[in-house]
């Protein structure tokens, strides 16, 4: 498995650390309902198909990445830097 880091280019999977679902980027407001916090912290989909999750390029450029991949075919569909998203660090 290889991921194409937006800064470093195509790299081996061993350079990356897996963090978890993309849901971690969508933190509820502090006063959000308990259900929203429950969903944020604990409730995850387990799709057979396309999923999006967070990876960290710890042996490379230290970027956080959102990886879109297919759990059935193992295709990597997209790799984006979290910092490049709206609201990410400039």
């Amino acid at each position: 498995m290889r991921l194409t880091c937006p800064l470093c280019g195509e790299r081996d999977r061993r350079e990356f650390y897996y963090y978890g679902s993309e849901d971690y980027l969508n933190r509820p407001a502090p006063d959000a309902a308990p259900q929203a916090w429950d969903d944020y912290l604990h409730n995850r989909d387990n799709p057979a198909g396309v999923t999006r999750d967070l990876w960290y390029h710890d042996m490379g450029c230290s970027s956080w990445l959102v990886v879109t991949r297919n759990t059935v075919t193992h295709d990597i569909l997209a790799v984006e830097a979290v910092a490049d998203r709206k609201g990410g660090a400039a």
């Binding site: 800064l7 470093c8 350079e15 710890d58 490379g60 450029c61 230290s62 830097a81």
Partner: protein, 183 residues
């Protein structure tokens, strides 16, 4: 305060030569990490202009005389060989890294083949030309790797891993030398 003796990370390691390729300790001082604050890249480049340098693109470096600025990660570069210019600290986070890194050089005809054992990248000249600088694993170590010439590389690792890096590169050289003998 007694006078202390400063030692380099690999003091006492004599250069190792196999197949006309030499592993040796390099030197680079001072080293300053430059991490521009968001949206300040123009001002960072203005502050660097007196040195003749500009903030490098990913996987690259800029150099002027003995001073060079090498890319070391997202929005981060190391300024080597010159002190930070006046005004830079207003627009970028600066930290002194001078004693934090061990520097190794590998020079010779099999330097490329040696490094491609512990580093999982295509380091052939066409894919990895001179003055390219990347962050890459050297086995388990988070190294900064630069091709300084067609047959020469500079490898920087955390100072705490200096002897491990030395040992693993020596081993890779020995393996290539042994294979050359039996071939």
């Amino acid at each position: 305060m007694p006078e202390l003796i400063a030692k380099s990370a690999l003091a006492g390691h004599a250069p190792v030569t196999r197949l006309q390729t030499t592993l040796a300790e390099g030197s680079a001082a001072p080293i300053t990490s430059v991490a521009p604050y968001p949206g300040r890249m123009d001002r960072v480049n203005a502050a660097l202009a007196p040195l003749g340098l500009a903030f490098p693109a990913p996987n690259g470096q800029t150099r002027q005389g003995a001073a060079r600025l090498i890319w070391t990660g997202r929005d981060q570069a190391f300024l080597i060989g010159a002190p930070a210019p006046d005004g830079l600290a207003d627009h970028a986070a600066l930290t002194d890294q001078t004693d934090g890194w061990a520097i190794l050089t590998l020079t010779g005809p099999v330097a490329e083949a040696t490094l491609m054992r512990p580093v999982p990248l295509d380091l052939r000249l066409g894919a990895f030309p001179p003055l390219r600088t990347v962050r890459a694993p050297l086995n388990h170590m988070q190294a900064i790797l630069t091709r300084t010439a067609p047959d020469a590389f500079e490898i920087m690792v955390f100072r705490s891993m200096a002897r491990t890096a030395w040992g693993e590169l020596t081993e890779a050289l020995e393996v290539l030398a042994a294979r050359a003998q039996t071939a």
